[in-house]
Amino acid sequence: MIKFKKVSKLYPDKTPAAKDLNFSIRPGEFVSIVGQSGTGKTTIAKMIIAEEEPTAGNIIIGGWDITNIKNSDIPVLRRQIGVVFQDFKLLPKKNIFENVAFAMEVSGAKKEDINKVVPQVLKIVGLTKKTDRFPNQLSGGERQRVVIARSLVHHPKIIVADEPTGNLDSINAHDIVNLLLKINQFGTTVVLVTHNHDIVNSIKKRVITLDGGQIISDQKTGKYIL
């Protein structure tokens, strides 16, 4: 369960990024957070992974109040949340297997576990045959699959995908969303931050719409209304 209770965020220059946000996301839900650029969508994603701290209100994840999370607890939180970004954030000098394994290596996983889990997640995203390729040898859609595979290695309960289709053509974008829907079917909560109308309308799941940092609509099976 993700809970935002009266959450507001002001940036240091006093620009409001989020105003009085109140919403809950149940375990296993698929929620799209939509809105135009600068409406606070990414701020919500960043606050969920404790990259940003709210100025007011409380954020509770799985019963854990992370509003004023200690620095030393952030890694524990991030191992429970898979993160997917628009700009992939892959290491160019590591091949696909190594990029995915890296997430496990830095959290102290044993080599045997890495060798077991990495092929599994690469199979889920359909990249079994390209494990020794480097990021620059893959298409945009494939790179985003690698990022999704990496986000899955810790078996997260939540996946936060911030504009995962932003750099992709419509076919690849739909593939990635289908992959996220597949992962959601396994029981993982997916929070999709996007401003892509077609994608949102095709998913037919819950949509939270933001405008000026505020929620203007929260529909159970919504559409992109802006």
Binding site: N71, R78, R79, L91, A103, V106, S107, G108, K110, R150
Partner: protein, 304 residues
Amino acid sequence: MFVNLFRTSKFAAQNFRRNLWLSVITVFILVLTLFTISLVFTINLVADQALNSIQEKIDIDIFFSSTASESDIIEAQVYLQQMPEVDQVTYISKDDALEKFAASHLDDPNIQESIAELEENPLPASLVVTAYELDDYKVILNNFEASQFNEFAQDKSFTDYQLVIEKLSNIINRIYQIGFILSIFFIIISVFVVFNTIRMATYAQREELGIMKLVGATNAFIRAPFFMEAIFYAILSAVITIVIFYPTVLLASPYINSFFEGYDFDFMYYFNQYVLHVFFLELAVALFLTTVSSMIAITRYLKV
């Protein structure tokens, strides 16, 4: 734990390789620093031994004129013995002196012949005085010269040694001072260089570090490779320094020994006794410098 240690070492080795030139320069500066520090330490160590070996040979020989009776000399001996600065006073009679002289020239038949032909023993009786401290000799001499026994004294031998010691002390002190100043200079430079190398490493890997944070690496895991890299620098430079320093000392030792000809002093003998001390000093200094400067760089530039 071993897995983490292994990975930390792997990432540290990667850092070292990726910034190879910077790493080489860092090690070079550290080697220079450690070399000068080792030099100062060795000088300090060996100088004490060298001065001691000269000091052991130092004494004052007070030769008495033929007018002095044996009882006068014995009185003088008692007088000297009572001084707190005096360690030992040995009386060498005219006969003892001649015996010693003959014994030390056993191989020279001419001298032996001359001694046999002597009607009267020409050698004076003497008192050999040894002091506890080098500086005490002047006091002893001054006191003796002010005493009633001075009129019996024909000659005193001390000044030559004093000159040697003063000269040697001056040379050692000067080298020590220069070495000390150089060490401070290199220490400051190496702190800056290590600091900058670690800073550059964090900058070069900002992307990787960002990903590490996102996928849940702990702060300790992110910071550890940079500490490890600093420890690499320390160990490598300490080993390189001793590998260069030892042969340098070995090459220099005949020249240094030639300064101490006639004294019981062998430079390499003393150095070999302390070579492990020198190495551990180098390692300790290198570890201290690198960990302190990397810690400053990490806390300043690695916000996790």
